[in-house]
Symmetry: C2
Subunit: 362 residues, 2 copies
Amino acid sequence: MEEKKIVRFGILGCAEIARKYVRAIGMTPNSSVHAVASRSVEKAKAFASANNLPAEVKTYGSYEQLLNDPSVDAVYIPLPTSLHLDWALKAVHKKKHIILEKPPALCVEDLDTILEACDNNGVQLMDGTMWMHHPRTPKMKAFLQNPDLFGDLKFVHSAFSFEGSDKFFEEDIRVKPDLDAHGALGDVGWYCIRAILWANDYEMPESVIAHPRPVLNEGGVITSCGATLSWQDGRVATFHCSFHSARTMDLSVHGSKGILQLHDFAVPYEEKSASFFSSTNTKSGEMDTFWGPRPNEHTVTVEFPQETFMVEEFARLVKKIRDSGGKPDSQWPSICRKTQIVLDAIKTSIQGGLISVKLSSI
Amino acid sequence: MEEKKIVRFGILGCAEIARKYVRAIGMTPNSSVHAVASRSVEKAKAFASANNLPAEVKTYGSYEQLLNDPSVDAVYIPLPTSLHLDWALKAVHKKKHIILEKPPALCVEDLDTILEACDNNGVQLMDGTMWMHHPRTPKMKAFLQNPDLFGDLKFVHSAFSFEGSDKFFEEDIRVKPDLDAHGALGDVGWYCIRAILWANDYEMPESVIAHPRPVLNEGGVITSCGATLSWQDGRVATFHCSFHSARTMDLSVHGSKGILQLHDFAVPYEEKSASFFSSTNTKSGEMDTFWGPRPNEHTVTVEFPQETFMVEEFARLVKKIRDSGGKPDSQWPSICRKTQIVLDAIKTSIQGGLISVKLSSI
């Protein structure tokens, strides 16, 4: 009975990022790691051992074997983006619910194929945008939704960068055109785009235009770029993502009455505590030589890393389907799709020589 | 002899912002307010009285009278931008050194007329970009110039906004096409452009392009806009300036190794203390669930408001000319001109329907 309540995860591939989710699943009350698969059973066993997985966790030498295990409820797919379509479809056809690492697909057409399969198979999909699930995020949203403290949304800016090492630029899948073709845009830029949509209550922009001087490597993979998004009512958002600048994760949301600021929006500085800053109703000093008050720091303490909250939410949705005959939640796939559409439009803008790309309303 | 060492200022107009400079001049050891002028002597007297100026300070009922006073060494010109060309030229022809409130001119052609007159008359010009003179600014620059802590400059973002009141949008000179035609771009945007140029060691961008959805009032004055600047080597900068969002003054400078951040770059939260944040050599936690260290806060304590440091620097340059036969400093006029050129290019981009505007190298 207790066993029945747990969502049993299979891990499809032993990527570095999988370690984080194995740990998070282990920390999540309603979830457990049931099996891990790699392209060889030795690699799967080595991964299980390196991550201190209990002996009863199954290790498979192929992804198919894991998907054929009827005890697996859900799979976490941290494979390179170019493999997502194939393996997501295989998993979905086996009725496995999926957490698809971001970016979910090479293009929205591929993502739509996956989403259609999820619909047809009654399967839940969620992408790996972990910061959305941190308890800090709804607290920030409450500030943005407060008409007295924040007012009307006017402008968002986000930036996410880290400096890739020489090894990163030689070997990492995120700079390989045949693996993660979206590069910095799909990796760190994904979070910026999502943050902008999140702040805009997922209302799609009217148009996007990439900024001048995107950086592409010899394989044509974007290693740095930015864009401006705009809405018909005058809202504007900008972001910048890069593998060439020092690590920062900036998010500024400007309303008519208040400002939200933080510099660690995607991954908090600490695992058990995360802050954001709000300011509202500031006044200039009499002579304009000072102003205030300073922004307020709001700190949220948590017991677990943010991935745990994500797995818990996903497992909750899976249990509703598995145990109560519920339907898959449509919000997470919808948000995922909107983010992909904006990402695609920015690539189109870059490929077209920085053209403005209109987005049809969704 | 002591009197001789002081730079005697005339104040050309009793604008609100003039109060700040009257106070700053009074606090500056090498400067004093010698005279104030308004369009009526009553207004000048009322201003002198409201600002507790000593009885010996002269009050004039016309700007010409003040400029004809041979004891005035320098004038502070806080008039609306559309009056700058006329009054700056009149002041310069009377050999008065000038602090010209920003934005200095309606276009760089007008500014060049003023600068040429300054050259011909051996007169010092400085624009009123006060934050440049805060002792915090060179400390931030030292961080940006440190190859180990900051590395190579990659990206700058700046935003300066405040929410104009109903009265502001009805009456303020900054929304009147015949007075301060540059609106938010010339007012708060000027500081953002300057901050971007400052971070780039005043190297001019290759091109600028305005962001979609600038807001213009019925008189055609920009009340909100943004732009992206780019350099041939891949550096990019964005900014956003607005009269419609809550007050904030964001500056983020991203280098290959370090990040500079602050949210009060133009006017510090406190008159006697100002901070900035730097981060460098951050590391991701083992599982990418946290990172750090957090940015370091650097606090600079000062005795005076930043305008005092500006007046002091200006007066130092004036004294070199007046007392030692020195030549006007060329750095401040050059920086002023570059800022104006970028401002003009952004207006051209907006007026041209968001076209990319190339800047010829200067």
